[in-house]
Every structure is written in structure tokens, then in C-alpha cells.
């Protein structure tokens, strides 16, 4: 810019500004590559070679022109030097070429070796002396389950309000505190993994997992615009879904953790959590589906077997495809072709099953029992002359264990008890005229030979069904309200809640008790069973919570002696206005209710109750969105150890009782001191004012109060007593 510098006659020196804003020309050689292993040729063959090279490169997806190639010549011999330079438009193209062409066999004798021009220089100048690399100090990774070692045995929960996430400890009031305040930004929502190891946040770029005592980022999955996620039951894998099909822009980073061009157009991805690798992608758009008709998608789309060995996916009406982990190949190379299949569920693993697996997994253990097979159940509707059918299948043997035909079926819902002991198929049936709907519960007893089925017939429509965890009872919400099915504003549907229990004598399920004319529409069993909360959720006028105990009198009476259904006792009734979510903590000690701003904006916030319905905590916070307890993994104690603890509970609880007593007596030394000071100040001020008032006046005032007896108590307190013997001569 000579012109600018010539204007010094203005008396202003612009050189500093010019230096600062001087355009930096790209003078690097990063877009230049060196290709070795090129045949040494005469000038005469130059053109032919160039053609061949351009063609070879083109085959690999690297387009170059003759002009981009420069081949140096040995002027003495008149032959080429066996290498050439290629100039690309930019560095990215050069990188792409290196990846594509390096090690490319040009012909039998020649293999191309491609390097960046700048690298050649660097390698030439390399220091030849060997420097021993520093051995990095081993730093142990923090324990991802550190929270379980809490000395007070507290549980954690996460709250999401506005833009703020907080992780809390929940225990006794004095032990409840904020555990961590993360600075996670811009995400849709948070989710715990099923065993509580990780907490996931869904960002625009993908999913992030956080964990450990420091809450550091543990893993990331680059699935842009992810909307839904699902963990496998053993936390080994993760599924992510976005409504937007995957796009892989040109020049995107490639690797095992990223989408490749092959994944384009899919929108469902399966990942390995430990390595972060992408295992496979799917599309949830079925071919042949008219794109205009968008059905409500079922989530999760992929259903995991409880041992993380298989993941299955249904193509409604056609088949169930089961993939093996971790390869994600189709198991047996073919899907389960089932005409008309609507829905299926895997059978969960009970604690006993898990123990068996552990035992058989120990090396050297005798394979006494047959290895337990996974089971799944599916149902098909009535087609032509075929009745509707529920089928229980073993997998991977694909053997049909039990089949049950059903008639006049509108809809089936499959409910497994969480130990896999029972399966309930809730069958909505219609009368011949299809005008009214009633309900059958087909209950499969899974632990008995030939899987006997028993039917409970009901006249009303069953809105919700729930098994008692680890139990032999279930609860249903049923209704014959005419408003059912046409919800409107202000309409609260009247419901009945019934409890059923397995009668061991007759070996069938019998009604324990029906609680009629309620508004409850949600059943929440405590994860330990026995306690159940009935809630009215999603209503603008009702928000009642009922806390029930189903074994109220078994503590004093021996089991089996009590009358049928007499143990059911209402422990407490509470109300949380506008409640949208009801969740037990993993220990079954507390219940959390929350009103999320995602559903409505009235009195958002959360409350924590004990199992009797006593309110412990209540926070009304505007823009409150989420409350989730941190799940706990199953206990590591064996059945025997648990029994031993139960037996010696009194001894174990002593330490806790003492702790409680200590806490009660001294809430905290500080608080007591503060209170003492406040009282002292108050009393000093009162004494002063009373003195000023004069004894006489005070007497008069006191006297005006109804003549109360004045009782003066003198207390002699012996603080110390010492005896001295005085020797008198």
C-alpha cells in the first residue's frame, strides 16, 4: 500500500494501523502434498502418466487437474525423480486426498505414499536423539457410584427450574442440602441413567453424560437435534432419537464416534456408553408409510432385553427384529416374522434370576441349571378367521412357550410384574355390537409349569394397571363414568380403585378391596411394595394424594391370620395443587410430587412427603420443570446378608437412633447459641422496660389479668460438692 504511506504529509503516521490491519495472505503450503512412489519415466511418457494419475485419483473421489500436478525432472538423466507435487484448493481437500490416496497401489510395483508438503520439511528437521517419553502418572478415575457411599445413606434428586439445574441430597431436614450446582447450559432436559450412574443432558449438538463425585463430563454422543434418549437396563448402551434425519455435512469429522455418510437419513442411533462409539443407526420412518399420516410414535422404539444382550424393534403388522449386542447384527440373520403383531415386551429379570446368573457366571461353577433364556411376549389382533392371540416366546431359541387365544379384542396392553413372576395382559373387549367396552385381565403365572393363565373379568373400563413391585398384588383404576373418553375442561372423571391379591389357597387372584367414587387416576407403588399412593394427576380442580398401606396390621399379627383385605389402611391424605408428576424415591421412604411448567404455569414447584403423607419439603418456584430422584443400582448384599441385617436390625438401628436423639437435643450448636443470644437480648430489653414502668404499675397491670396465682419456685441446684476434712488438733 504505497499510496497510504505516501500520505505522511498529513502529518499523521498510519503505519501502526496499517500493520495491524494488513491483510494476511495465506502463504502456507498446507494445501500442497507430496506423492512418492510415482514411476520414474521419460519425458515422452509424461502425458500418459498424468492421465493415469488423474484417473486413479478420480476413482478415489479426489478430483485433480493436470495443472495442479508438478513433477520435477532430473535434468541430467532426463528422467523424472519418482515424486510429484499436487496443489489443492485448500487444506481440507489436501487432508481428504491424504486419507484417500496414501498407500494406494498404483500398479504392481508402485504404491503411492502421500504426505503433506509441510510435514516433509518437519520430518527432515526432526531431532534424531531419542527422548524417553514421560510416563504419565496413573490417575485413578473417580468412582461413578460415589454417591452411594454417603455416610447418612441419603438419596439424591435433580431439579431443573428456569435455566438452573441443582442436584440435592435428601435426608433428614438437617442433612438435606444442595449437593452440586452444575453450570450446564442450553439443553432440553435432564435424565438419569437407570442405575443412577450418569445424568444426561440433551443439547443441540447431542447428548452429554455427567457423573462421578466431581460431576465431570463422562461421555458425549454427537447426535444433533436429539429429542429423546433411552438407556439400556444395564447402562451399557444408549439410544438417541431426533425427529430430524441425520445429515453428514461435507468435511464432517469422521470416526467411530461420529455419523458417517452411510447413516444419512436415519434418525435413531445406538451408542456404546463406555467407549462413546456409534454402533448403528436406524430410521423410524417405515418404508411404504405415507409420510403425511404421522402416527404417534411409541417410545422407546427399541426395547432392550433385561440383560442388555438383545435389543428389539417392531415393524407393526409384520415383524420383530432382534439385534445382538454389541455387534448390532440381526440375531440369527432373520427377524421374527409375525403377521399382524402390534406390541411386545421383554420379560424382566427378577432378583433371583440375577443371582442365578451371577452364580453360573463364576468360573468353575457347575452348570447345574439350564441357562435362563430371555422371554418376550407379543400379541396379534383378530384377522379374518384368526382369533387375537397372546404369545409367550423364549429367545434366542424362538420356542413358543404359551399361547392364548382371545376374542372380541379391541386392544391389549402387556404388564410384567417387575420380578418377572407374573404377566398381566389387559384386554379391552367389546360386545358384539361394539358399543360398549369392558375389560379382562389375563394373568400368566410365570413361575409355574406350563404358565397357567387365569382371567379376571371386569365390567368397567380399566384406565390404569399396576403391579406391586416384588409383590403378589396389583391395583387397577377403573371407571364407568360416561364422560370417560371425551375429556373436556373442568371434567374430572370419577374412578374406582381396586386391589387384588394372589390367594395362595386357591391359587388365583381375588379382590382385596375396592375404593369407590374417587378421582384418582394414577397408581404409584412404593419400589419396596406395600405402600401405594393414589393420585389425581392432570386435573385442574382436583389434586388429591392418598397414602395407603396394604399391610397395616401384619406387624402385630402373624401373616396369613389376618382377614382378607383387612390390612388395607389409609395413612394420610394430602393435596398438591396442579400436580403433574408423582414419584417415589428409590428407597420407598419418600414421595415427591411436582407441578411442571411444561404442563401448566400455576403454582409450579415440588413437594416431598414421607410415606405417611406428611409434608416434609415444599417449594413453589415459577418456571419449575423437572424433579427426578436419582435411581439406585440393586443392592450388592446377598439374600443371606440382608436376612442377617433384618434379624439384627435393633443393633444396627441403635447407632441411628442415637444419632437422631443427638440431633433432636442439639439441632445445631450454632443455632442454639443464636437463639440463646436472641432470647437474652429480648429479655434484657424487657427487663429494662419493666423496671422503668415501675413495680406498682406492673402490679396493677398484672393484677388486671384474671387473678392468677403467683407461684414462686426456688430451685437449689448443687453444682459441686466437695468434702474437706479439717483436722483440728
Amino acid at each position: 500500500m504505497p499510496e497510504a504511506t505516501n500520505h505522511v504529509d498529513d502529518g499523521i503516521d498510519y503505519s501502526d494501523i496499517e500493520n495491524k490491519y494488513q491483510v494476511q495472505y495465506d502463504d502456507g503450503f498446507d494445501n500442497l502434498v507430496v506423492v512418492d512412489g510415482v514411476p520414474i519415466i521419460d519425458k515422452s511418457k509424461h502425458g500418459k502418466l498424468m492421465d493415469k494419475v488423474v484417473k486413479e485419483f478420480g476413482k478415489k473421489g479426489v478430483s485433480i487437474k493436470h495443472d495442479d500436478i508438478f513433477m520435477p525432472w532430473d535434468s541430467a538423466s532426463g528422467k523424472s525423480k519418482g515424486f510429484m507435487f499436487i496443489e489443492f484448493r485448500n487444506e481440507d481437500d489436501a487432508s481428504h486426498a491424504i486419507a484417500a490416496i496414501d498407500n494406494h497401489p498404483f500398479d504392481a510395483k508402485h504404491t503411492f505414499r502421500v504426505n503433506r508438503f509441510t510435514d516433509i520439511e518437519r520430518y527432515a528437521d526432526l531431532d534424531e536423539t531419542y527422548v524417553e517419553p514421560q510416563v504419565e502418572e496413573y490417575t485413578p478415575r473417580e468412582h461413578l457410584r460415589a454417591w452411594l457411599a454417603d455416610p447418612h445413606g441419603r438419596d439424591q434428586y435433580v431439579t431443573y427450574r428456569g435455566d438452573e439445574v441443582l442436584i440435592h441430597w435428601h435426608g433428614k431436614p438437617s442433612q438435606s442440602e444442595v449437593a452440586y450446582k452444575p453450570d450446564w447450559k442450553d439443553f432440553l432436559y435432564v435424565a438419569w441413567s437407570p442405575l443412577g450412574t450418569y445424568v444426561a443432558t440433551l443439547h443441540r449438538q447431542g447428548v452429554r453424560l455427567w457423573g462421578g463425585s466431581s460431576w465431570k463430563a463422562q461421555q458425549r454422543f454427537a447426535h444433533p437435534l436429539v429429542k429423546l434418549i433411552d438407556f439400556s437396563p444395564c447402562e451399557q448402551y444408549m439410544v438417541t432419537w431426533s425427529n430430524e434425519p441425520i445429515m453428514v455435512p461435507e468435511g464432517a469429522i469422521q470416526g467411530p464416534q461420529y455419523f458417517s455418510p452411510d447413516d444419512e437419513g436415519n434418525n435413531l442411533a445406538v451408542w456404546d456408553i463406555k467407549s462413546g462409539d456409534l454402533l448403528r443407526t436406524f430410521s423410524t420412518y417405515n418404508e411404504g408409510d405415507p409420510p403425511a399420516v404421522k402416527k404417534q410414535m411409541q417410545w422407546p422404539v427399541l426395547k432392550w432385553s433385561p440383560d442388555d444382550k438383545y435389543v428389539a424393534r417392531i415393524t407393526p403388522g409384520q415383524m420383530i427384529s432382534v439385534h445382538e449386542l454389541p455387534s448390532m447384527y440381526l440375531q440369527g440373520k432373520k427377524s421374527l416374522k409375525i403377521e399382524g403383531v402390534v406390541d411386545f415386551e421383554w420379560c424382566p429379570l427378577g432378583e433371583k434370576d440375577k443371582e442365578d446368573i451371577m452364580v453360573s457366571a463364576v468360573p468353575g461353577a457347575k452348570p447345574t441349571k439350564k441357562v435362563r433364556e430371555n422371554k418376550l411376549v407379543y400379541w396379534t389382533p383378530e384377522v379374518a378367521n384368526q382369533p387375537a392371540r397372546v404369545t409367550l416366546m423364549g429367545f434366542p431359541s424362538r420356542s413358543i412357550l404359551r399361547q392364548k387365544n382371545l376374542f372380541n379384542v379391541t386392544e391389549c396392553k402387556l404388564y410384567w410384574q417387575n420380578q418377572g413372576d407374573f404377566l398381566c395382559v389387559k384386554v379391552d373387549r367389546h360386545t358384539k355390537t361394539k358399543k360398549s367396552i369392558f375389560c379382562n385381565l389375563e394373568i400368566f403365572r410365570m413361575r409355574e409349569k406350563d404358565y397357567p393363565v387365569e382371567v379376571v373379568e371386569l365390567k368397567d373400563t380399566v384406565m390404569d394397571f399396576s403391579w406391586e413391585p416384588k409383590g403378589e398384588r396389583f391395583a387397577i383404576v377403573s371407571s364407568n363414568d360416561p364422560n370417560l373418553g371425551n375429556p373436556g375442561p373442568g371434567v374430572t372423571i370419577k374412578t374406582d380403585v381396586s386391589f387384588y391379591q394372589l390367594d395362595h389357597g386357591k391359587n388365583d387372584f381375588r379382590l382385596l378391596r375396592t375404593l369407590s367414587s374417587r378421582t384418582s387416576n394414577a397408581i404409584r407403588w412404593s419400589p419396596r411394595g406395600r405402600h401405594v399412593v393414589l393420585a389425581t394427576v392432570g386435573s385442574s380442580s382436583k389434586s388429591e394424594l392418598e397414602f395407603w398401606d396394604l399391610d397395616f396390621n401384619t406387624d402385630d399379627r402373624k401373616e396369613g391370620q389376618s382377614d382378607w383385605g383387612s390390612g388395607i389402611q389409609l395413612l394420610g391424605v394430602a393435596d398438591h395443587y396442579g400436580v403433574t408428576d408423582v414419584e417415589w424415591d428409590p428407597s420407598g421412604r419418600y414421595l415427591a410430587t411436582s407441578a411442571s411448567a411444561w404442563t401448566h404455569t400455576l403454582e409450579n414447584g415440588y413437594a416431598i412427603w414421607d410415606f405417611r403423607g406428611q409434608e416434609l419439603v415444599k417449594h413453589i418456584q415459577d418456571r419449575f420443570k423437572q424433579f427426578i430422584w436419582r435411581p439406585r443400582p440393586p443392592t450388592l448384599l446377598s439374600k443371606e446378608q440382608q436376612k442377617a441385617i433384618r434379624k439384627n436390625l435393633r443393633e444396627y438401628s441403635r447407632a441411628f437412633d442415637e444419632e437422631d436423639a443427638a440431633e433432636e437435643s442439639n439441632v445445631s450448636a450454632e443455632l442454639i447459641a443464636l437463639r440463646k443470644r436472641l432470647v437474652d437480648e429480648w429479655n434484657a430489653w424487657r427487663t429494662l422496660r419493666r423496671k422503668e414502668l415501675g413495680e406498682e404499675r406492673l402490679q396493677k397491670l398484672q393484677g388486671k389479668e384474671d387473678a392468677k396465682e403467683e407461684i414462686e419456685v426456688w430451685i437449689d441446684e448443687v453444682i459441686e460438692q466437695t468434702e474437706e476434712i479439717v483436722v483440728v488438733d
Partner: protein, 332 residues
């Protein structure tokens, strides 16, 4: 507990007599009622006012009752007969009345309206004879400068009254000279809605629309305690014999319809007097609580609401036994 239903419109003030056996209530329906406090039975009415009765007070002997109303009158009633003994008329409404400790004088505040300034007058009550011979003229009268007074009470010092103002100010006035003796301009951030004296008249509690209540030393106006809630307060009372204060309030009547019932916070709140911590709540009203009074012996309390109900709650044994903060002795 009993619920009285003798008023058709919202309550304005309620008062126990010195013995606590009677409860006087006044409301916007122009009538003053008197009830037996132990069972809620109505003993009688005091009729004659032609407008909202804003305020009542009863003398220590339970002989005379004074009332101030929107018909610009201050009336003296015989408690026992329900007869109106004397009427004073003013240019504007009477917003607050209060007897002195002996029952010999009455202080009243008249509204600032239609060119008339807010005025504070003190009348001597002639207890001779049947009480109908009263002097028409006040013994003292003055116009407080600045923000208008909303509540007032006598103190034990001669001629000194304590006032609460629209601006949130709490002040001491010498009624003889009309001079402001002392003031705390920032006692509250909004209208002072109620003022009740302690048993020995050495301190008082005020409530305000600024959502807080405060205990003041009546000698030097020092703020001793502050109780901060999340709702505008209409009334505050001191519980004798127990270290609690009772606060009542709620959303403004005009705003209530726009919010759900439960957002109105229509509960009587119990706060610890010394630790300034909330210790409990009593539900019951369907509208804001306008006025609270506690039995002089501390055995029950009454609340009057915008909903037209007076609720009398008797404390149970556990209320007297409970020592939620340990064995610290607190001087009343």
C-alpha cells in the same frame, strides 16, 4: 373452635374486652355485634350507624364501647344495654378509635377527604352518670403533618400517642401541642394496617401492606423484631403468655378473583416473637383476613375476614405445652 356468622359483609375490626369473655366485631354492614367468646353465641348488637363501621374499642371496665364509622360519626355505646349514649359528628369518616389505659380518654383519627385534612382528636369520657353527658368538643385536636395517619393508640406517657401512617411511617405525637415527638419514617414500606399494644403498653406490633409486621418499642420507636411474609398483611396481634405473634392478610379483595383460592394465602400465621420464624398456620377463611385479636389470657384467638366470617379458635393443650425451641425462658 366456632365460626360466627352474623355479618353480611367483610369484617373491619374485632376486639376482646379486658376479661376476654366478650368479643366485639364491626363490619361494612353498619352493625356492631357482641358475642360470647367461649361458644360464639351472639349477645347483642349495636345498631345506629349509617355506614361501614371501621373501628371499635371497649374500655377496661367493659362499660363503654366507642365506634367510628363511615357516616362521619364517633359513637359512645353502653356495652350492657346496647344504647347509643352520645354521637360526635365530623366532616369525614372515622377510621380508628382507641381508649387509653384507664378508659378515661378516646383518641380518634378522621379521614383526609374533600378538602378536610386528616385530624386526630382526643375526647375525655365523662363516666359520671349514665354517660350521655359528654362534651362535644375534643380536649385536644391537631392535624398531623405529612402522610395521613391510619392507626393510632395511647402510650403510657401522658399526652403521647403512637401513630401508624399511610407512608409506612410510625410516629409519636404530643396531642397537647400536636408536635411530632419522634418518628421512624421507614418503619414500613407501605400502609400501616394495624397496631396492637402489648399487655404492659411498652411495645406494640404493627402490620403493613409491605408484607411485614414489626414490633416497636413505644418509648423510642426502635424496631425490635421484624416478621417478613409473602403476602400483604392486614392485621397483627401479640399472643399473651406464649412467645408468638399472629399475622393475617392476603391478596387485595379486588385481586382475589384473578387468582386461585389457594394463592390468596388466607391463613393466620403464627410466628415466633423472638426468633422471627414461622411456627404454624391456621386455615379457614375464604378471603383475606382483615383483623385478628387474641384473648387477653391467651386461651383463644379470633380472626375476621373479607368473607364476612369471624372465626374463634381455642388453643389446645399442646399449644401451651409445646416448647418448639427448648427451655429458654422468654419474658413477656
Amino acid at each position: 373452635m366456632s365460626t360466627d356468622c352474623g355479618h353480611e359483609r367483610s369484617l373491619t375490626q374485632i376486639k376482646f374486652n379486658a376479661e376476654g369473655d366478650l368479643l366485639f366485631t364491626c363490619s361494612k354492614d353498619n352493625i356492631i355485634n357482641v358475642w360470647y367468646s367461649h361458644n360464639g353465641e351472639r349477645l347483642g348488637t349495636y345498631e345506629g350507624n349509617n355506614g361501614t363501621v371501621w373501628t371499635v374499642d371497649v374500655d377496661p371496665q367493659t362499660k363503654y364501647l366507642v365506634s367510628g364509622a363511615a357516616d362521619n360519626t364517633l359513637r359512645l355505646w353502653a356495652v350492657a344495654t346496647g344504647k347509643c349514649l352520645f354521637t360526635w359528628e365530623f366532616p369525614t369518616a372515622v377510621k380508628r378509635v382507641a381508649f387509653n389505659e384507664a378508659g378515661t380518654q378516646v383518641v380518634c383519627i378522621t379521614e383526609q377527604r374533600m378538602g378536610h385534612q386528616c385530624a386526630i382528636r382526643v375526647f375525655a369520657i365523662n363516666q359520671e352518670g349514665d354517660g350521655t353527658k359528654q362534651s362535644k368538643e375534643p380536649i385536644f385536636m391537631f392535624n398531623p403533618i405529612g402522610s395521613k395517619a391510619t392507626v393510632c393508640a395511647f402510650t403510657l406517657q401522658p399526652h403521647i400517642i403512637i401513630t401508624g401512617h399511610e407512608s409506612g411511617k410510625v410516629a409519636l405525637f404530643n396531642v397537647k401541642t400536636g408536635e411530632e415527638v419522634d418518628s421512624n419514617e421507614r418503619a414500613h414500606g407501605d400502609v400501616v394496617t394495624d397496631m396492637q399494644m402489648s399487655k404492659d403498653w411498652t411495645y406494640c406490633i404493627t402490620s403493613s401492606k409491605d408484607k411485614s409486621a414489626r414490633i416497636h418499642d413505644t418509648k423510642n420507636l426502635m424496631v425490635i423484631k421484624t416478621f417478613t411474609t409473602e403476602t400483604p398483611l392486614n392485621s397483627a396481634a401479640l399472643a399473651p403468655s406464649r412467645p408468638y405473634v399472629l399475622l393475617g392478610g392476603g391478596q387485595e379483595a379486588m385481586n382475589v378473583t384473578t387468582t386461585s383460592l389457594r394463592q390468596g394465602k388466607f391463613e393466620t400465621r403464627f410466628w415466633h416473637k423472638v426468633f422471627e420464624e414461622e411456627v404454624g398456620r391456621v386455615k379457614g377463611h375464604f378471603g383475606p383476613i382483615n383483623t385478628i385479636a387474641v384473648h387477653p389470657a391467651g386461651t383463644c384467638y379470633a380472626s375476621g375476614g373479607e368473607d364476612g366470617f369471624v372465626r374463634v379458635h381455642h388453643f389446645d393443650d399442646s399449644y401451651f405445652r409445646a416448647k418448639p425451641y427448648g427451655d429458654l425462658e422468654i419474658i413477656e
